[in-house]
Homo-oligomer: 229 residues x 2
DNA sequence: TGTACATCAGTGAACGCGCGTTCACTGATGTAC
DNA sequence: TGTACATCAGTGAACGCGCGTTCACTGATGTAC
């Protein structure tokens, strides 16, 4: 029951380590994350890191949770900037925020939605809450459409039975929702993810495509496609 | 002017190396590709590989080109299995073949469309032809729609001028085409890529979604969305 | 206020590992005469 | 047919490198009396 000053210092180096990790990920990519390189950059020795992250994977997990939290914050903020009734506006705002965050932090985006780090298995029970929360903004908007009867889903594939447990786990972190809204959200998410991930790993520009406009076109197309009224 | 038997042996070990590389990529993922591990698996010593691939990157390049070629073959085959006039049928067939190939060879898919291998820069002049060819099936179908006046692209974002060189390069390997068809193809491709890459790196099943049905729903949705008649 | 003691963040050396690449070599294969 | 020679795919040892992780330690900080 001692450490009043110590705690401060712990926080400092702990976040300094994560900051440096992000810097290196931004520079060299997700898969060359190295404790020794981080220590070198911070001017400390590698074993010092073990006081804060007992294993390399613990650092990676912390980074992933931070990324999900930052991403989720921006999603929820974008949604809540518009009134509850403006569902389409909220949908577009979320979509725009999604791409903006991804372009701002392409390496964080890769870390959470791209190819996983080789040899790293995320501890789901730790990561799931922040991951689910980050998707809850979109899901809540789709659910709002459904509640109002404005979700256009003729012929949408039937959900297979037997996944009630997964849905319940979702609700715990993502809010009350019908399973259909989750499914539609996943489809929309995959469209968005495709556009954004291709834009990040280059390709669009080389044919004179304007990322902003193409993305807005796609968002509007989706909002028309999945809604009635 | 000697080696009649030698050539055969060269072919054998060369393709044996690539085969083993694929096996290891399938098992441990794209980024843990190692010459030494390949040699170990083949029962030869690591330097022997240098007779066939002067540097590690040359092997990676060869793998990428092989993957594009295999993928492109399946795309073109799918398209050509239906008559020229059945444009929508061809579109759906290409889409189905895209996902089938990706699910059959998820690691090859990751290698060409996913996160690149860290530290590896593909030599574009070598890779571009097979890459462009692999996309030419989709582009040719979209172009066929455009020629018939059946491409629905109201408000489709204007292509920025100054990219004629890129388009010309494309035409060399992908066939004669209007730039608009390329742009629309890229948008469609990104939707498909999002769905397929999310399905590969898991996620869909955990909410009871049936990959087959969701994908067919998406393909049909797209074909309606981008065509008139 | 002063001293003996406990804490514990960070150090420095060392471990065992796998990697890509180089180098001089060997020994089977095939050629020339 | 027999011998001397050239070729060259594959070997084995070695290089320098960076990695994650362990371990006994040190020395500043703060506590107890």
């Amino acid at each position: 029951m001692v450490r009043p000053k110590r705690n401060v210092q712990i926080m400092d180096l702990q976040s300094a380590i994560k900051e440096t990790a992000w810097k290196q990920i931004a520079e060299y990519g997700t898969s060359s994350l190295s404790l020794r390189a981080i220590a070198r950059d911070l001017g400390i020795t590698a074993p010092a890191i073990y006081n804060y992250f007992p294993r390399r994977d613990d650092l990676v997990t912390a980074l992933i949770i931070d990324a999900y939290t930052s991403f989720g914050d921006s999603q929820i903020e974008a949604r809540d900037a518009l009134p509850l009734e403006d569902i389409i506006g909220r949908f577009i705002a979320i979509g725009v925020a999604y791409r903006q965050w991804a372009l701002l932090y392409p390496q964080r985006y890769q870390l959470i939605f791209g190819t996983p780090i080789p040899g790293y298995q995320p501890p789901l029970e730790q990561v799931y809450p922040s991951g689910a929360r980050s998707m809850s903004a979109l899901v809540s908007v789709v659910e709002a459409l459904r509640v109002k009867g404005r979700l256009k889903v003729e012929n949408f594939p039937q959900i297979k039975p037997g996944f009630e447990a997964g849905i319940e786990a979702w609700k715990k972190f993502g809010g009350e929702v019908e399973v259909l809204s989750i499914s539609v959200s996943i489809l929309i998410w995959s469209y968005v993810h495709g556009l954004v991930s291709l834009e990040i790993s280059a390709g669009l520009q080389s044919f004179g495509l304007n990322g902003d406009e193409l993305y807005m076109f796609a968002l509007r197309q989706m909002s028309k496609q999945f809604t009635t009224d």
